[in-house]
């Protein structure tokens, strides 16, 4: 049941390098220096790059936010979620409806979209999280489809045509309408998501999720409320998705049910699993792969999903902990 020790059948080509990096970055100065350099690079990036590369990078940051949210559910709490696009849709549509139909300011819509996602998360999580774990996969899948179909069938969501005319957000008097604006917006969002994920991971809550993943009964015997902890993960993950959805709506100004298909949920999951469930750098790496592979290797377009399918299978069979290696750990033979 609690078999989490993974067999290393295939040596990870990154392993040597990354282990060395771990060693170098043991020194906090190098670590912070590296991050500072990376941040500086990413901050000046829009000035030196084309609109297209900015768009791709914006999409990457967007993936990082969404996938870190999904990672809380799948990676930390160990719950397979196959309808994550639905929560993302809840956020996007809450902002969309409030903005385009009621003229509400973008920033004010965000709390509403979080609340909506929390309600949706509770509605689906509360009754089902007590069930067998694998039922949850199918329930979330069903919920994803229900959400998309409902959005498509209702009038308030604009039906299949979707919502148009979502207002662009303003920030200290500047209307955010350039791609570089959104680049920075999603960049900041991604950094916030990383910080919050990191804090959660190394906290009472994050550990509780890990205990439950390792051994549910033992965790319960240690006084951890398994259902509530999972529900928390579910809700926090949903809220991440909803915030990303709100910003997505503001960037696109027009949203339709086509952006929230099952395949989108699968791509998010793919990024989380490929990089490494439950590991922040892994999730970032997974997002990079999922976003950049199709862009860099243009010719693979039609084969994209097939290739990802094989990658996923290989990862699961030979390296279930994902591409990103585990942190080196101290063992008795040290």
């Amino acid at each position: 049941m609690a078999e989490t020790k993974n067999k290393h059948k295939i040596k990870n080509p990154f392993e040597g390098i990354i282990e060395k990096l771990f060693m170098i970055f043991e020194n906090k100065i190098y670590l912070y220096g590296f991050f500072a350099a990376l941040v500086v690079f990413l901050v000046i990036f829009p000035n030196t790059s084309s609109r297209f590369t900015q768009e791709i990078m914006t999409n990457l940051f967007f993936y990082v936010v969404v996938c870190l949210g999904l990672n809380i559910i799948v990676g930390y709490a160990g719950l397979l979620h196959l309808g994550y696009a639905a929560f993302f849709a809840v956020g996007a549509y809450t902002t969309g409806i409030l903005s385009s139909r009621m003229g509400m300011d973008f920033w004010l819509t965000i709390p509403f979209s979080i609340v909506a996602a929390v309600i949706a998360g509770l509605a689906i999580g509360f009754p089902t999280l007590r069930l067998r774990g694998d039922y949850l996969a199918i329930v979330t899948l069903g919920f994803g489809e229900i959400t998309r179909l409902t959005i498509r069938n209702l009038d308030v969501t604009g039906g299949a045509i979707g919502l148009i005319g979502i207002q662009r957000p303003e920030f200290f008097g500047i209307t955010l309408n350039q791609i570089s604006h959104f680049y920075y917006m999603f960049f900041i969002l991604a950094i916030l998501a990383i910080i919050v994920s990191y804090r959660l991971e190394n906290s009472r809550m994050g550990r509780a999720w890990e205990y439950i993943r390792e051994d549910e009964d033992a965790a319960a015997a240690m006084g951890i409320n398994v259902t509530t902890s999972r529900l928390y993960a579910f809700i926090i993950g949903s809220a991440f998705g909803a915030v990303a959805g709100s910003f997505f709506a503001a960037k696109m100004t027009a949203i339709s049910p086509d952006s929230f298909m099952f395949i989108h949920s699968v791509m998010f999951l793919m990024a989380v699993v490929l990089g490494g469930m439950g590991k922040i750098p892994g999730v970032v790496l997974g997002s990079v792969l999922v976003v950049l592979i199709p862009e860099v290797a243009r010719g693979i377009g039609p084969y994209r999903l097939l290739i990802f399918g094989f990658l996923l299978l290989i990862i699961m069979l030979y390296r279930p902990q994902g591409i990103w290696p585990e942190k080196p750990t101290i063992s008795t033979d040290e």
């Binding site: 160990g78 089902t128 069903g142």
Partner: protein, 304 residues
């Protein structure tokens, strides 16, 4: 049409669709029963069955035509081949994962599903394919019920397969071994049952039935598509849960019930067919919440 005529017609429609669901649900249920895996790829097996049947027909029809004889031959050959494909998938993707965490094996199943449907998508250029068969599409009336020969034969065939399946599970040694493994795999191993062989057989039988359903759907609807397995996979799972997952008669019953539910659900005033799938999924979720062990399932031990 008078109301009772509509209801009668819907009853027949529901039973026909339901029998397809049931055939696919059996495989879902058997696999879940024996290795506790939600085989997401099962719907794609159904789709592969339909495409294999089409390929067989296109090869065979110049020699033996595309009538009932070649259909039946095609059905048997496809069931055999797709059954073997199921065994292969089991061997390559699932067997190494039997002892892995549940999350991993679920994701593996998802990966297999992606591989299967994307392969077929590329091979079929993503287009719908006409499933042309040379059989009568004449309709006739049985009382107020409008029927075609094809539909009658299909529904009879589906029920026959289910009956054979039921006999297989309850009367043969293999069937008994399957049920025993579902109860306790380790003990079975100790008792000298070749567990892996039985698991492989389960995949063979489940995949073969899904393939049969796929061909029958091809004949019935006339067109097939690489993504046809997605929706039916979900619905077959729903059917399996309704009947009580792991219980073979339950899967058949669940399939028929779901078919009827959908057929009659669309007759509720003011709610269009656009809500049909919302109904099915909502029903599934409610069912999982309030009766997770299904209609025929016994409740689990009182563990909190």
């Amino acid at each position: 049409m008078a109301l009772h005529e509509i209801l009668l017609q819907q009853l027949f429609n529901g039973l026909l669709i339901g029998s397809f669901y049931g055939l696919v649900a059996i495989g879902y249920s058997m696999v879940y029963g024996i290795i506790k895996l939600l085989n997401f790829a099962h719907g794609d097996i159904y789709m592969i069955g339909a495409f294999s049947g089409l390929i067989f027909l296109s090869i065979a029809s110049p020699y033996i035509g595309a009538g009932w004889p070649s259909l039946i031959l095609g059905l048997l050959i496809t069931m055999l081949l797709v059954g073997l494909l199921g065994v292969l998938i089991q061997r390559v993707a699932y067997r190494p994962m039997l002892k892995a965490p549940r999350l991993s094996i679920l994701i593996t199943a998802l990966a297999v599903s992606m591989i299967l449907y994307n392969t077929v998508m590329l091979l079929s250029a993503g287009r719908y394919r006409a499933f042309n068969v040379d059989i009568s599409s004449e309709s006739f009336y049985l009382g107020a019920l409008r029927l075609t020969e094809t539909r009658v034969i299909l529904i009879v065939a589906a029920f026959t397969l289910m009956f054979i399946m039921h006999m297989f599970i309850t009367k043969t040694m293999y069937g008994k071994a399957m049920r025993a493994i579902a109860l306790d795999r380790d003990t079975c191993q100790l008792m000298g049952i070749d567990v892996f062989k039985i698991i492989a057989l389960t995949f063979f039988v489940g995949s073969a039935l899904a393939a049969a359903a796929g061909i029958m759907a091809g004949v019935y609807y006339g067109t097939i598509h690489f993504f046809m397995g997605f929706l039916i996979g979900l619905k077959a799972f729903t059917a399996a849960v309704i009947g009580g997952i792991g219980i073979i008669p339950g899967a058949m019953l669940g399939g028929l019930l779901l078919g009827l539910l959908e057929a009659f659900g669309t007759q509720i005033p003011f709610i269009g067919t656009e809500w049909k799938d919302v109904f099915s999924f909502a029903f599934l979720i409610l069912f999982l919440i309030f009766k997770p062990n299904g209609l025929l399932g016994r409740s689990e031990s009182e563990r909190m």
